[in-house]
């Protein structure tokens, strides 16, 4: 029984249940009813309760249901890409947009996917240049810039 408690599936369902619980408790900070109609706290309370109950039901069905012998993809590559995204977003405010985006692509091509350097640099460079052309020049989006972005 213990292994069913420790699956990612179960953790995910419990996460949703906790979010529902947070909303349920938080809803009481707002008035629930005013006149004939619900006030600001009513629907968050309903949604929170529903999400909590549904997620608990999912968790219970995982616990008591037949264990699925489904093979899942390994986590390493996805986690590496996710970590790279976190680093890139954290650096956007300091070194602008285009360099981190170029770095993200190079990191994935070279380190995660082990692709050839020259081809990776060409593809990453072309994509970065295209993004700059479309967003900065055509659409005039004020991407955070520093001097060495261009």
């Amino acid at each position: 029984m213990k292994h069913r408690l420790l699956t990612g599936d179960m953790g995910f369902a419990v996460g949703w249940a906790l979010l529902g619980l947070y909303w349920m408790v938080g809803a009481f900070d707002y008035p629930l009813w005013s006149g004939f109609a619900p006030d600001s706290g009513f629907l968050p309370l309903v949604y929170g309760t529903l999400l909590f109950l549904l997620s608990v039901a999912v968790a219970l069905s995982l616990w008591f249901g037949e264990a699925e012998e489904e093979e899942r993809e390994p986590l390493t590559k996805s986690l590496l890409v996710l970590a790279a995204l976190v680093v890139v977003v954290a650096s956007l405010g300091f070194i602008g947009f285009l360099l981190p985006v170029f770095g993200l692509m190079m990191f994935i091509y070279l380190y995660v996917e082990k692709l050839p350097l020259l081809r990776s640099a060409v593809v990453a460079g072309l994509v970065t240049a295209s993004l700059a052309l479309v967003f900065v020049h055509w659409l005039s989006i004020p991407l955070p810039l520093v001097t060495w972005d261009f």
Partner: protein
């Protein structure tokens, strides 16, 4: 007759050079994302949303619709050539289509799929032309209780059929509604669940959640399986006379079935193609050929999934209830452009609606022209490994999300929700109901408040009014039928019943 006159007006708008170009771009991109692995029409529309922010809504919606039905064509190519359905709606095509490819008849399979898709797409767009306006007209009598019931039906219908578990689908829809409560309550002006952060006062943007779940989440889930596969050669895409004789009726039947199934909220192209395949197998004089390369097994499902794509636009345009995950995103795009989805769309934004419908006739023709001579060219795209594609997709997600509000916080949200989207994909929680919950949340809340104010606080208003009651009953059935069917299926059978001797 009035519909045909309106359609004429729609053609005059759709045939302007700019809209024609957007239509071509839409169907081309749809075809492309249908072929390329790991990116579907939902993700493609999500990625393009930031680019269309502030541009002409008609042109943008013509492009989004083109991506939606164009992807059905593109998904066929992967199903036939490498037996990997590019879209869930082309799963059935891969059974006989791939067998035809093994026998050296990939060209004929793709050709009949393109012709069938064109005929079905045109027939179902005609159905959309004739059915949507009267439906919208009838729905103009809707008041807040009917709108509330409609939102409930839309959410429940999509949640009930999106994944393998009704429970997870409904929970995902509720999670979307819950996220919609973040920010300032438009009625009372109270700020809710903003965690003391000023940038959350506007709530979570639809684009941010959509790009996160369908862009970043999809990439994180798919990047682990980024390998290339051998691709069959494409020759002689024009079907023979015998192919055409065997495919005529499956195409017509698939068109009708697909349209009718597509019109039902929450069903969409995947279920339509399943029904068409089963129907063709039942009606065939040679059912034993199915699964071994029967051309009817390609013609029926392919026609059906294209017809369903247009059918799903009927409830979306006429009632504001999406028929599938992708139409849920198009619905969000309508709201993003400041339009109110639902019956009023046909009266207040008639030019836009009819231009989109007219563009679908044009788009289907463009797809036929593109698919017959260029099937081999699109097939070559299958040789591009996904590992070269997904890093640029991530880059576009980040820059695109930033561009819609110039907010770095949105980039953090996209990474956070992207991780959640990855988890949802991994553990089979459908993402579309969550997006729909976020989109429809404000309408749900305002119509509930208005309804209860009208009824002096009694919920009987949702039962006393016949249309609202019927919609609520339909919503209950959408939940109850799969649950009861699941319970019946899990009951142990008596040992003597139904056993083969």
């Amino acid at each position: 007759m009035e519909a045909l006159m309106d359609l004429g007006g729609g053609f005059s708008t759709a045939l302007t050079p700019n809209n024609l170009m957007m239509c071509f771009l839409g169907v081309f991109l749809g075809q492309l994302v249908g072929v390329l692995p790991g990116i579907g029409p939902s993700a493609a529309i999500a990625l393009l949303l930031p680019l269309t922010f502030g541009s002409d809504p008609t042109a943008s919606l013509i492009m989004f619709a083109g991506i939606y039905y164009g992807a059905q064509y593109g998904g066929t190519i992967t199903s036939v050539l490498i037996s990997v359905p590019g879209e869930s709606s082309t799963v059935m095509t891969s059974i006989d289509g791939y067998q035809m490819a093994i026998k050296g008849r990939a060209g004929a399979a793709l050709g009949i799929a393109a012709i069938g898709s064109f005929i079905a797409g045109t027939i179902s767009t005609l159905g959309l032309t004739l059915l949507a306006p009267p439906l919208a007209q009838a729905a103009l009598a809707f008041g807040p209780p009917e709108y509330f019931a409609l939102v409930v039906l839309g959410l429940v219908a999509l949640a009930a059929v999106s994944g393998r578990s009704v429970l997870k689908g409904v929970a995902a829809g509720v999670a979307g509604l819950l996220l919609a409560t973040i920010g300032i309550d438009p009625q009372s002006g109270v700020s809710r669940f903003d965690f003391g952060m000023v940038w959350l006062l506007d709530g979570i943007e639809f684009i941010v959640l959509t790009v996160a779940l369908f862009g970043v989440g999809e990439v994180l889930a798919s990047c682990t399986a980024a390998s290339a596969r051998p691709v069959a050669e494409v020759k002689n895409v024009l079907p023979t006379r015998e192919d055409w004789r065997r495919s005529r009726m499956p195409i017509l039947r698939g068109s009708v079935v697909g349209f009718l199934v597509g019109v039902l909220p929450g069903t969409g192209a995947t279920i339509a193609s399943f029904i068409a395949y089963i129907m063709e197998k039942k009606l065939s004089r040679h059912p034993e050929e199915f699964g071994k390369g029967a051309i009817e097994g390609v013609a029926g499902p392919e026609s059906s999934n294209n017809a369903a794509a247009a059918g799903a636009l009927v409830p979306m345009l006429a009632l504001g209830v999406p028929g599938s995950g992708t139409t849920a995103i198009i619905l969000g795009a309508l709201i993003m452009f400041g339009l109110r989805p639902g019956p009023e769309l046909f009266t207040q934004n008639a030019t836009l609606v009819w231009a989109v419908i007219a563009s679908m006739y044009i788009g289907n023709l463009l797809l036929l022209i593109m698919n017959l001579p260029l099937a081999g060219v699109f097939a070559r795209l299958l040789k591009v490994p996904y590992k070269w594609l997904y890093p640029p997709i991530l880059a576009i997600c980040l820059v695109g999300v930033f561009s819609q509000a110039n907010s770095l916080e949105d980039c953090w949200l996209v990474v956070g929700f992207g991780a959640i989207g990855w988890g949802m994909k991994r553990f089979d929680w459908p993402a579309a109901p969550m997006v729909l919950g976020l989109v429809l949340g404000p309408m749900f809340e305002s119509s509930l408040r208005q309804s209860l104010t009208m009824s002096h606080g009694t919920a009987f208003i949702f039962i006393n009014r016949p249309i609202a009651a019927a919609l609520m009953l339909a919503a209950v059935l959408f939940i109850a039928i799969p649950v009861i069917a699941g319970l019946l299926a899990s009951r142990p059978r008596p040992a003597s019943a139904g056993e083969a001797p």
